[in-house]
Symmetry: C2
């Protein structure tokens, strides 16, 4: 019997912290990840090209997930990522879009 995959921990909307979200967005690789998902929609880590090792990449995704910037769901062996636009906009209106527009 397959073990049931435990859901990955995500903060609730009212647990979001502005400093933590800004910190999550303050790294060039994490900005690139967020920008890629914003443009391309739900995707796995492997579909995003970033100049770091897989373990560093996994860490960056965890920082983004822990801050509430993205949602990860396990589908079989793949971990799919989407941005938490609605939750972020509810807490910090316009922040995500303003940052994404500033990404060069």
């Amino acid at each position: 019997m397959q073990p049931v995959a435990e859901a990955l921990p995500h903060p609730k909307r009212d647990e979001f912290d502005l400093s933590r979200v800004l910190h999550a967005l303050s790294d060039p690789v994490r900005l690139q990840i967020v920008s890629s998902i914003a443009n391309g929609g739900e995707c796995s880590m492997g579909q995003i090209e970033v100049p770091v090792t897989k373990s560093t990449c996994t860490h960056h995704f965890k920082v983004l997930r822990d801050a509430g910037v993205l949602m990860q769901r396990q589908v079989g062996t793949a971990r799919l990522n989407t941005l938490r636009r609605e939750d972020l906009d509810a807490r910090f209106p316009g922040l995500l879009d303003t940052v994404l527009r500033s990404v060069e």
Copy 2:
């Protein structure tokens, strides 16, 4: 004869880096500093109440200055601080205001 005070180093507008600005804004004390200057206008470090030592506070101001978030000018023994609103808005339109609105 009084020595001429050396001007403090500030990045030029086109040297601003989004990650660096977001990092500068990603600390609760630095957000409090930026919010105070936004509300009260030019002021010295001592006029802003933050729960940290003077040397930590000096460090926070330097991080903000190095990122281009604020401008410091020496007037006698006082170091006065203003936000670089125009420069920030030119590079990252709306970012500063969006962050300030999100500060609780």
